[in-house]
């Protein structure tokens, strides 16, 4: 089961894929009655933010990546109930026991912080974590570019 020599691929789709997913979700949102009322700002911001992450995860390949899978799973859970993501508790008990034979204690501390930031990072071994991180970063910056384009386009001239 030596998968150590598999080439690591962190390619992401083109920007239009992200744009398309985001636009579709936004247009769905706008069809909701409560969405357009000027008072409910906080709700609206939260929904847009959530839609940004979900559409990004879908554009990036849905269930093909660990981080996008975790993100989508989390979003689905949130739709049923407002629950605080419990990942943190489990992860802390996991890692503390394993400090003994790690290659470098400093690296592991940083890795732990990274695991906090990348969806699904809690269960990953460090090389997988870095691979997922690279992909996640690329997708995040694509998503940011898409949103920036939108904002620039919608801003009053």
């Amino acid at each position: 089961m030596a998968s150590a020599n598999k080439p690591i691929n962190t390619d992401v789709p083109e920007k239009d894929v992200f744009a398309l997913h985001f636009l579709q979700s936004l247009s769905n949102l706008r069809r909701q009655n409560t969405f357009n009322s000027p008072e409910k700002t906080n709700d609206r911001v939260k929904k847009i933010k959530k839609v940004a992450y979900v559409s990004m995860a879908r554009a990036a390949g849905g269930t093909n990546r660990l981080w996008s899978r975790a993100l989508l799973r989390r979003a689905a859970k949130e739709n049923n109930k407002v629950v605080r993501f419990p990942r943190r508790k489990k992860r802390v008990t996991c890692l503390r026991r394993r400090r003994s034979n790690r290659r470098d204690p400093v690296e592991e501390e940083e890795a732990e912080r990274l695991r906090n930031l990348v969806p699904g990072g809690g269960g990953m071994e460090i090389s997988k974590l870095m691979e997922e991180t690279a992909h996640y970063i690329k997708c995040l910056s694509m998503q940011v570019k898409v949103m920036q384009c939108l904002v620039d386009g919608l801003a009053p001239k």
Binding site: S3, A4, L26, N36, T41, C94, N101, A111, S141, L150
Partner: protein, 94 residues
């Protein structure tokens, strides 16, 4: 979700992932982060790269927050046509 598999068990000499691959990944990450790419230094310590990666991700999250906020302001209007047109126009022109 119990993922405490044996992949996390102690692996001293014969680790599944080679040190080269790790170092490779560190370099890859280094190139992805604009902050570090500018410095052009050949090799940074893994922990520094990881640290900057965390900062970069946090920044990106913050940008998403900020842009969501601004988008929310723009999308609150009931003027459908102009907003849709502007959206499509802006994305097609990039």
């Amino acid at each position: 979700m119990s993922s405490r598999k044996s992949s996390r068990s102690r692996q001293s000499g014969s680790s599944r992932i080679s040190d080269d691959q790790i170092s490779d990944l560190v370099t890859k990450l280094q190139h992805l982060i604009p902050e570090l790419r500018r410095r052009r230094s050949d090799k940074m310590s893994a922990s520094k790269v990881l640290q900057e990666t965390c900062n970069y991700i946090r920044n990106l999250h913050r940008e998403v927050d900020d842009l969501s906020d601004r988008l929310s302001g723009f999308l609150a209007s009931t003027d459908d046509n102009s907003a849709e047109a502007a959206i499509i126009r802006s994305l097609l022109d990039y």
